[in-house]
Symmetry: C2
Subunit: 349 residues, 2 copies
């Protein structure tokens, strides 16, 4: 075990002393979950509802990799939970609770952790779930928030990813590419002027990067009308390719059909070459769904009724995904010509 | 997002290229779990058995904090899963599956990850669970394995920690202090000679540090006969204090009653002052249980029948845990005098 180098005497008053002080700040987040035992047991207890199955996902986020050191603690917290809940939404599931392991190179200040807990409180209230348990440790390296989320789905109704079939309609929710523009703005605020964005448009794009909205309202419609679905975290092109390749199918995307926000369209009007980046940039946390063609309009209507539009952006094909390592996902550019997008999305290794 | 600095050209052949190659090495670990979908979906599906509740725990381990850089990858894997499963055993639960997030500062070699997967395979076979899903990312800092384990317990029978009552018997499973001696030996192999240990005794202590054995066979006996239980990860003194303080009760431990292995007794014969370290050293992954006095012998008999002895080491008292910040846990030394053990166990912050 590593020695703790900093003595109490060296610590400013605002630094939290000991794991128990950290737990005390987080305990209110567990108040609504009886099986969390106020974070005072070693494990959490979860009583699944009859007729339901559980959907589970773990997706840690780390400073400098998934969020910026300059991001506000409340935004970091929101995003850490949202990226996990987003997966549940795509599976047609409803969030129940989450476990959270925090790793910090130094003990957090009370101010930082309190702001972090406030962001988490806002997120869990919006998503309808509670903190069930977790762990804290100190280690070198970036601050890390490792969340495992648990959701519930009616038995047999989880929406899979690899079940896309031939000649399905591919649809996405909301708009694509906002978060990658938001990230660019967070790193270089001068871009707002270069792109001619209003303060409202700038805030909108930053918000799309910092506070992704898992599309939970779409879950019932996906369960009823989708053949397959996934959330978009690593870029539309990479994720759509992943869905198709998992089923051994080729497919096509039509770039001009991809829904863009007014702010993104404004950026694109100045820098048309940024289109490829919007399609590959990642962090969208929208949903990619496949439906049979005869269910497409039904799904779109149900999505609109749920308050989140879905738009057809392509089709799965009937030819197989190529075995030679090439891509089976063609992209038609706005000019009708094939669009080359370069590196297709995020890979850590 | 951080750029990936290393190009394919610079990578030796043995380095795994891309998240998909990493997943391919791990996929056999998920073969026995239908809801893992071969690690090819974004989420895992778990169908709880009727009449059961789920017990959940997350406890990440990081290089340099929870394991040594020199530890073998198979041992690292075993321990990463064992420390989580150990909590389930103490709650009276049976493991079902786990999610695992891997973080590495550089892509692992195929040899490293294959050995790691072999250790995990051995552990999950021993513990009766399967890999359900997970995540991999690259980030600076120590190699980290973040496991969330899910177990099953008959409804209403999870053994809590804070439910210890006045005048309960406190018992521990197996033997205490071996792992802290094993860690000392792993860091300084010359200690084996200084302590007069045989190669078998040395290997035994190293094994207790590297390959903790969650006491799953005790789960049914704990459900039936324990008032409260927890696993011992941060040292007997700290963990017993935690259990008692959570219930607002004082208590006593009798050092001479604490069960020690033959190897630990040999060390202690040479270095009697090491006793305090054995009681506070942590990484035991034994079980601390509280029973009513009339159930003590029944629990001990059931534990013996399950192949893991349990030994009475103290009692909860009837006076409250002191409110002044002092300890409510007294320790009677082997000489009958109060034993001062110094810093009482591991705290990250």
């Amino acid at each position: 075990m590593l020695p703790i180098a900093m003595t109490d005497r060296q610590r400013p008053k605002d630094i939290l002393h000991g794991e128990e002080e950290i737990v005390a700040v987080l305990a209110p987040l567990a108040a609504g979950a009886p099986g969390a035992f106020g974070l005072e047991d070693d494990c959490a207890l979860l009583a699944p509802e009859p007729g339901c199955e559980l959907v589970l996902k773990t997706d840690p986020v780390a400073e400098g990799v998934h969020f910026l050191p300059t991001d506000a603690p409340a935004d970091i917290a929101w995003k850490a939970l949202a990226v996990n809940v987003s997966d549940l939404a795509a599976k047609g599931a409803t969030p129940i609770g989450y476990l959270m392991a925090l790793s910090f190179p130094e003990a957090p200040t009370r101010a930082w952790l309190t702001a972090f807990a406030a962001g988490l409180e806002a997120a869990q209230t919006a998503f309808g779930c509670h903190l069930l348990g977790g762990d804290t440790d100190r280690r070198p390296g970036p601050r890390t928030i490792s969340i495992t989320v648990i959701g519930s789905v009616p038995s047999g109704q989880m929406v899979r990813r690899g079940t896309v079939r031939e000649d399905c309609s591919l649809l996405v929710s909301g708009s694509i590419g906002d978060a990658t523009l938001g990230l660019a703005l967070a790193k270089d605020p001068a871009l707002a002027a270069a792109w001619g964005l209003s303060p409202e448009e700038t805030d909108y794009l930053l918000g799309r990067y910092r506070r992704p909205q898992p599309r939970l309202s779409l879950a019932p419609a996906l369960r009823r009308h989708a053949v397959a679905a996934m959330d978009l975290s690593d870029g539309l092109v990479k994720d759509a390719g992943r869905m198709l390749r998992g089923a051994g199918l080729s497919g096509r995307l039509e770039a001009a059909a991809v829904p863009l926000s007014a702010a993104a369209r404004k950026v694109l009007a100045r820098e048309p070459q940024r289109l490829a980046r919007l399609l590959t940039g990642g962090d969208d946390y929208e949903i990619l769904a496949a439906t049979t063609v005869d269910q497409r309009d039904v799904l779109c209507a149900a999505a609109a009724a749920a308050g989140v539009p879905m738009t057809e952006v392509g089709m799965s094909g009937s030819s197989p995904w190529p075995a030679d390592g090439g891509t089976g996902l063609g992209i038609d550019g706005p000019d009708g010509q094939p669009l080359a997008v370069g590196p297709t999305g995020w890979d850590h290794f």
